[in-house]
């Protein structure tokens, strides 16, 4: 792998940028691999990368039905934070956050991790109770998250409307300064480049159509649109399609897949310096380096694999954005799109072994998977390599729904009384 640097760019500039090598190769699939990862999104590619770099397992194929990074990795609003309530969640998201810091250097690929701060707004007494619970728990977990007054919130994000007469006035905010954003495509591409350089095969336009199991019940490989490919271990990291793939292996999942929409505005000069989220009015916003306001909407209410949703969902989101930022009504929506998010009953992911030997699953990230990408790939690689979960993902089992040992971040946000 030729190193990227400003010197490399200068060198290439002299010869018309014709000397760049392919960032990843597009090999023909082999007959068999030690490990097959199903899904070349950020999580899957990171898993392959860490299998190679931390566990020395390079006979790996990442199979992707479309183009790498084309699922939720390339469709999300790129928010990164780790200020989750429960120890288990805080553990995995902060593991990821620590990896984000330094990921560009690790991958020699500028993923543009930008710790510009994530601010979560409180609009009523109940919000204050919930967010302060997070602030206190995070502090004792060693995770930065601080409480701001409305005035401090406005200082941190000047266009924010903190008028007391607003329909839902801002009464405080929790700020994680290490939170921020990263460039989503670059994350997929950087991991793909790193994995490919270490011998991992990234095979695009290769859809898995079946999971084969040997006589002893263990997995033996996958049927694909490009033929059978053998493997002793299979990691399913297929986001919205996880339950489809797991069904092929005979495992029914506690998952439902919903459309999640997002939109960007036309680019403008810097105006929103951080990430702002509000659970009560239900919207979140940041501004990309290009200048587009990046806005996330809620999910549609029904199961769908269509990657489209209703206009009324975007409408509600923009209502909320313009309530928080009344100066933005003359801004224009440039592009909207949808992804498919797989949601578990407790809104926490599943990163675990499964009842099928050699089959591992990493799914259920719902609307918040991007931020976990490096951490998720890192511990999932461990789980596959050692056939045993890393302590960080050990709580995120498939069995927890049977035992009731849920990690219910949504419930912790509770409901208004």
């Amino acid at each position: 792998m030729k190193k990227y640097s400003v010197f490399a760019i200068a060198r290439e500039a002299m010869r018309g940028h014709k000397g760049w090598e392919e960032q990843w190769t597009s090999p023909e699939p082999k007959k068999e691999y030690d490990v097959i990862i199903v899904g070349a999104g950020g999580h899957g590619l990171a898993t392959a990368y860490y299998l190679a770099t931390e566990h020395g397992i390079t006979n790996v194929a990442v199979l992707e039905k479309g183009w790498l990074g084309g699922g939720n990795t390339g469709r999300n609003t790129t928010i990164i934070r780790s200020n989750y309530l429960y120890d288990e969640s805080a553990g995995i998201y902060d593991h990821a956050l620590k990896l984000w810091d330094g990921l560009s250097q690790e991958l020699n690929y500028n993923v543009m991790y930008s710790a510009r701060g994530v601010m979560m707004l409180a609009h009523n007494v109940h919000d204050v109770q919930v967010l302060k619970r997070h602030v206190h728990a995070n502090r004792l977990n060693g995770i930065d998250n601080e409480w701001l007054t409305p005035e401090q919130a406005k200082e941190f994000c000047p266009p924010l409307n903190i008028a007391r007469e607003a329909r839902y006035p801002v009464v405080g905010a929790a700020l994680q300064r290490r939170g921020g954003t990263a460039r989503h495509d670059a994350v997929a591409w950087g991991y793909a480049r790193g994995a490919s350089a270490r011998g991992v095969h990234i095979i695009q336009n290769c859809e898995v159509t079946g999971v084969k199991r040997a006589a002893n019940g263990a997995v033996s490989g996958v049927e694909t649109t490009r033929g059978f490919i053998g493997a002793k271990k299979i990691g399913v990291v297929a986001a919205g399609h996880s339950s489809v793939i797991m069904n092929m292996a005979g495992v029914r999942m506690p998952l439902e897949s919903y459309p999640l929409q997002a939109l960007v505005s036309e680019p403008v000069k810097p105006v929103v310096p951080c990430v702002v989220m509000s659970n009560t009015v239900h919207a979140y916003i940041s501004q990309s380096d290009k200048g587009e306001l990046v806005i996330g909407a809620g999910t549609d209410q029904y199961v769908s694999y269509s990657q489209t949703g209703g206009l009324h969902i975007l409408q509600h989101t923009l209502d909320a954005i313009c309530e928080m930022f009344p100066i933005f009504t003359r801004m224009k929506m440039l592009r909207s799109w949808g992804g498919i998010v797989d949601v578990t009953p407790d809104r926490s992911p599943i990163l675990a072994k499964t009842p099928v030997k050699g089959l591992y699953v990493n799914c259920g990230w719902g609307t918040g998977g991007f931020k976990a990408t490096p951490g998720s790939g890192n511990v999932f690689a461990h789980t596959i390599a050692k056939d045993d979960p890393h302590p960080i993902n050990a709580p995120f089992t498939l069995e927890r729904f049977r035992t009731g040992r849920l990690i219910d971040e949504a419930a912790a946000a509770a409901v208004a009384h």
Partner: protein, 98 residues
Amino acid sequence: MLLIRCPYCEEERPELEFRNAGEAHIARSTNIAGESDDDFEKFFFIRSNPKGVIYERWRHIHGCARFFNAVRDTVTDKFVMTYKAGEPKPAKLPGASK
């Protein structure tokens, strides 16, 4: 915004009048207290989440307020049919080729 036919009102109405209520034809056991852990997990947590035809429940919450069932394709989001709660899962779908 989907257009949904309420089988009670016998009218197509916009999605805003409805609330989706999850997968259909998952019956609560009459002896739920005696169910095994596995069966309870299947009942309450496991979902088929199909890519293709789904049998799902809707409620005409801002209309007649009735729950009913629908058959919909989750890839195209097109409804195949809707029918009243309590009616059996249709054996054959209208327009189905197989």
